[in-house]
Symmetry: C2
Amino acid sequence: MFVIVTYDVGEKRVNKVRKHLKKYLIWVQNSVFEGEITEGKLEKCLMELSRKINKHEDSIYVYKIKIPSQITKDIIGEEKNVDDMFL
Amino acid sequence: MFVIVTYDVGEKRVNKVRKHLKKYLIWVQNSVFEGEITEGKLEKCLMELSRKINKHEDSIYVYKIKIPSQITKDIIGEEKNVDDMFL
């Protein structure tokens, strides 16, 4: 499965969210992680993640595509790499 | 086709990018637009968009899924609606 995780999280929590997601996915843009992951690992990742956010303030979207080849990605401008985005 | 557009754009240009994308897609999170769009309209949208950014500083990713039913979306926490996000 291929997933894209986007988030809009309060300043106080955003580093915790990023550190957590970095264990499972690739940080590709300021508020975006992506990558291939199993159903089981994603479930574990999201369960832990939901304990790190404030559900009344923060917003996390998890887009899931069962077959990775069904999604393509175009880039306009820079392709950010994780080193650009210090934690 | 279903698309997700995520962006990391300089402060000076971000409003222009949002105003432009709002003509084609739905603003669903701080740096995320999504929606169904035809190949032709997307091409027009992106051509215009690339003239509004600084390609050496800004980053725009366009995730494309040919058949919308092949993608699902889970939400943890708040579902932002565009009124929360003033332009």
